[in-house]
């Protein structure tokens, strides 16, 4: 859609195509929408966790630029059948996470709607914004935390079981991103919202390079491996296609040595995404929809 809009001024360093728009003065802005059915199920999640999780997802875009979130605007489409108490709990979830990262709500809008949706605009600052487009051939590719948990969480929800706090109250990796850029050269970064495969592909596309991932190095937690075993899934592909994880995928020429970071591959010259040297097929991830 970018091409369809004429560019009128040059305050902007980066616009569509990264996690945030970046202004020349270091201001960064991101806008996200979340809706019933695609990102959460009102009937199966506590409203508090819906608010928290959606806001975490929006903040995760700020983390992906190694930025600091400062201000937020919130829009909610409210179905008439939603009890006021539940709406308050959604706001409570947003408030808790706002408080944790010291983000001010400065505006927004509410409308009546046929179903619940939530949109955030977050405005922040990044002294050295890390883009998707900076990956260099020879960089090592790293990931924070572990993957597969979000997809497992959705499936547990669907079957009426309770997912872990990592799913219900994810912490956007804002502090981790800052520690990374403080101590290392980080050439490119993205947060895992569409799944490692697709998000790696975004880095590959924007940087004009390829990525080779080593499947044995992927940080898949024991509980996910156990879950996949019971359900008959291949834990590697299950985890590579698990979206809404809000971990960080990044590339660096340095040897990054932090307890929450794992080396999972390298940047190569041949474009595209490879798993253990074999080209991977990238398929669109449709958030919750893929599971319901």
């Amino acid at each position: 859609m970018r091409q369809e809009f004429k560019k009128h001024d040059s305050d902007i360093k980066v616009s569509i195509g990264d996690d945030c728009a970046v202004f020349k003065d270091g201001t960064i802005v991101t806008k996200d929408i979340f809706s019933e059915g695609a990102h959460f199920i009102l009937k199966k999640m506590k409203p508090y966790n819906i608010g928290w999780r959606c806001f975490a997802a929006a903040l995760s875009d700020i983390a992906a630029m190694a930025g600091t979130p400062l201000h937020s605007l919130l829009a909610i489409g409210i179905p008439s059948e939603l009890e006021v108490e539940k709406l308050k709990e959604i706001v409570e979830g947003i408030k808790s996470l706002s408080s944790l990262f010291k983000v001010d709500l400065i505006g927004g809008d509410t409308i009546g709607s046929k179903f619940l949706f939530i949109s955030f605009t977050i405005i922040g600052k990044a002294k050295k914004p890390v883009l998707r487009s900076g990956a260099k051939i020879g960089d090592t590719i790293y990931i924070t935390g572990s993957i597969g948990n979000a997809r497992m969480g959705y499936m547990l929800l669907r079957s009426g079981e309770s997912p872990t706090d990592k799913f219900l109250k994810p912490i956007p990796k804002i502090r981790e991103a800052k520690e990374l850029i403080k101590n290392y050269h980080i050439n490119s970064m993205i947060d895992i919202s569409d799944g490692v495969l697709m998000d790696a592909d975004h880095i590959s596309e924007e940087s004009g390079v390829g990525i080779d991932i080593s499947s044995k190095d992927l940080p898949i937690s024991e509980s996910v491996i156990e879950f996949c075993k019971n359900q008959g899934f291949d834990p590697v592909f299950f985890s590579l296609e698990s979206g809404d994880e809000y971990e960080l995928l990044f590339s660096s020429p340095d040897e990054v040595d932090l307890p929450y970071v794992k080396k999972i591959g390298k940047i190569i010259s041949q474009k595209g995404i490879f798993i253990d040297g074999r080209r991977a097929k990238i398929e669109g991830f449709d958030h919750f929809r893929s599971e319901i």
Copy 2:
């Protein structure tokens, strides 16, 4: 909702409670959402006009602060049954108006949704932002353009007739607002989105004053008067409760003499809204919903 969020920093001069949030450096930000059923009817409007009208509504908040819109972020919830061609036309409508006011699209988000909704975040600048809270007792209250057209437009749409271009392609009063603050002291201003009565009440509330409106001075166009006559409506109350007009309501100690401005009342000490000296009952305006 404002009270529920802790304030963490002091970059912000004005937050929730005005048309835009205002930063100390003159940056202004507004966020709006529009949805099928509440703000437009996909089956009865050209997608181009839906895009134009929603974007005009968002830009109108910038006009209300006498600001210049610079950057926009767009989020669209797209129902699976919406043809790509129609989506393109919506974007075309947004693009035309973006081009007219030189606004850059810098980011956004799209998701699958059960019905169409559109959200804009607009970032602009205002050297001297005009607030809702600045009305002074003794100010004259003015309005731009004419009122009643939007409500008539909706009703024509519903009955399968074609509304005027003023309805289909409203022009946010950005240039007019700038001319106003350049030549006069404007103490308070708001755009007519909820109807004159409710929007006057917002000024009254935020400024701690009252407003007395003279019904015979209201700028109601001939076509609206004719329409009301045929339909059996009182043109004064029909027009006072007509929302989504995107005209400007403002107060000034000066004698404002511009061809598109009409004096309609004055700021008084007794709080509340009065029509010809009689207290008016303010009822919530629910956009389109009030007509369908």
